[in-house]
């Protein structure tokens, strides 16, 4: 293998180990997908808790809302790269290892779920209060209001928020990759940067960009399809 320098160093495609590249891409997709599913589930649950407990007059519920809100804010504000390091012992005890795509999941989920939860809370607040009151006047229980009114009426917003979250998750996986989680970030860092092989870095970037475009495109399509407010 010869390494040229300068601009030409980006285009030495014979230096790229393609099977390696594909498996790294797959790892990135896998990490994003699995963590995204968990983020949507936990984010909606947390967002619902925040929404439902926000105006309570019961002091216990108030304290509960405050604690959940505080935890969400803490994990949302810790920079991701520090969060990974902070969670290493926990990751070790849950997953059994601190290396590889699986090891990235706990920190990915713990950092993105609170982020999504705050969005979910605000989407629920944006649901027309008149519609919620109408459902109450029909005799709906809280649970019925959640799955018959809140969730369907905020669906496009929930999807749009999930799209944004998924895109930041993709970039988180790359960051996690740099410290051993696998995926395209790992490949770009080890085989690209540390081996002074710019072509690999470039190809990894192109593939990640492609992923982001696909996620954005699918998200936009689904938002448009579910939003019946303007036709």
């Amino acid at each position: 293998m010869t390494n040229s320098t300068g601009f030409a160093s980006y285009f030495q495609f014979n230096n790229v180990d393609w099977p390696n590249m594909w498996s790294a891409s797959w790892e990135t997709v896998w990490m994003t997908l699995i963590s995204m599913i968990a983020v949507i589930v936990f984010g909606i649950i947390l967002g619902l808790i925040l929404y439902l407990t926000r105006d309570s007059k019961n002091p216990l519920v108030k304290v509960f809302n405050w604690v959940v809100g505080l935890l969400v804010n803490i994990f949302r504000s810790v920079p991701f790269i520090i969060l990974i390091v902070l969670l290493l012992p926990i990751t070790k005890s849950i997953v059994g290892t601190i290396i590889g795509p699986k090891a990235a999941l706990p920190s990915l989920i713990i950092s993105a779920a609170p982020f999504y939860a705050r969005m979910v809370e605000s989407y629920f607040r944006e649901v027309d209060s008149g519609v919620v009151e109408a459902a109450q006047s029909m005799g709906a229980s809280t649970w019925q209001i959640i799955y018959k009114v809140l969730l369907p009426e905020s669906k496009p917003a929930l999807i749009a928020g999930a799209t944004v979250t998924a895109i930041s998750l993709i970039s988180y996986t790359a960051m996690a990759g740099a410290i051993g989680a696998g995926g395209l970030g790992n490949l770009a860092y080890l085989d690209g940067f540390q081996s002074n092989n710019n072509t690999i870095t470039l190809v990894a970037v192109v593939i990640i960009t492609l992923f982001v475009f696909i996620v954005q495109g699918v998200g936009d399509f689904l938002v448009k399809r579910t939003d019946k407010r303007t036709l």
Partner: protein, 344 residues
């Protein structure tokens, strides 16, 4: 039957105690259309929220067909709410659901089977005149159509009472009339008790049997719509009644000055007549009986209420003062109320 017994509602705010509803006594009989009219802040919405158990009265009780609403909670309260249909100013339809899905929502909440839901929803959609639009989304409908969906939805659980909370306030006059006609039709066809909350006297006059006028939390006047229109006692009621006759009168001012300029000897008179008198040819009787006076019509309006017509007519009489006095006496003998607006 709905009965408010000495109902009051107070809120503790930063600026002290706020009395939203003050010692209200109202009785709505079965099958009636009962109107509650008042400006915003008069306490109408609080009254509705208490009726629905969304808020509890501070004192007094609200009795709906023998049930004290304030004593209910949890699933009992939810069951009770299913017996009350409600329509709203801003329709409050779910944009994510089609027309038929919106109408089916209360049935889903009540746990009615799917085939029955569809059957019932389709019946109601045709009752409100929206057949063929079942699968449209609210965003594809006009305001009046949306309110029709709201009405169908409110009726889906076969309620004992329908509450209309400013349901026509966001609609244009024509659409308002359409919706009011629909409410009348439902009242007659289903024998449904309707409580109509509004700030528009027009809506009250058109459909209600009885009316309560609210001002700063209290009911200041109540009775049959006809009585209240005929002899408004309180200032706020007079204001509401005159607003109802207002559109032609606004143009009056100009014509009045023009006419007084042109006929300085004239006398401007307003006649108010109701029921049978409104069907008599009063003006031509006056002209025939007193050929020496000339009569100019300045403005006039007629309102149909559920009990009969109420009319208001502004005239200018030109002639000798004695003859005009005589003609006014004659009008009084016909039981027409007369009022001299100005005489120069």
């Amino acid at each position: 039957m709905i009965r408010f017994n000495n109902v009051s509602k107070q809120y503790n705010t930063k600026d002290g105690e706020l009395v939203a509803v003050n010692d209200v006594n109202i009785e709505v009989k079965d099958g009636q259309i009962f109107g509650i009219v008042g400006y915003s802040g008069a306490g109408k919405s609080t009254l509705v929220r208490m009726l629905d158990g969304l808020e509890a009265p501070t004192t007094g009780e609200i009795d709906i067909n023998g049930t004290d609403i304030a004593k209910l909670s949890g699933s009992q309260l939810r069951k009770q709410r299913q017996k009350i249909g409600m329509i709203f100013q801003h329709f409050n339809l779910l944009w994510s659901r089609t027309v038929i899905q919106n109408v089916m929502l209360p049935l889903e909440i009540a746990g009615v089977s799917k085939s029955e839901r569809i059957k019932k929803a389709q019946e109601l959609i045709s009752l409100v005149g929206l057949s063929g639009r079942e699968n449209s989304y609210p965003s594809e409908l006009s305001g009046g159509q949306k309110q029709r969906v709201g009405i169908a939805r409110a009726l889906s659980n076969d309620p004992e009472i329908l509450i209309s909370d400013e349901a026509t306030s966001a609609l244009d006059p024509d659409t308002t009339n359409e919706v009011l006609d629909l409410l009348l039709k439902i009242n007659k066809q289903l024998g449904l008790t309707i409580l109509l909350i509004t700030h528009e006297m027009h809506a009250i006059a058109k459909v209600c049997d009885e009316v309560a006028v609210m001002d700063s939390g209290s009911v200041v006047e109540s009775g049959t719509v006809f009585e209240v229109f005929k002899h408004p006692k309180q200032d706020v009621t007079r204001k509401f009644v005159s607003e109802e006759f207002s559109s032609p009168q606004e143009k009056d001012d100009l014509t009045v000055t023009e006419l007084t300029d042109r006929y300085p000897e004239g006398k401007l008179i307003r006649l108010t007549f109701h029921g049978p008198q409104s069907e008599l040819p009063i003006v031509s009787n006056v002209i025939r009986k007193f050929p020496d006076i000339e009569v100019n019509i300045i403005s006039g309006s007629m309102r149909q209420t559920q009990e009969g017509a109420i009319g208001s007519l502004s005239l200018q009489f030109i002639g000798k003062t004695e003859v005009i006095e005589e003609s006014l006496d004659y009008l009084k003998s016909l039981r027409v109320e007369t009022e001299v607006i100005s005489n120069d």
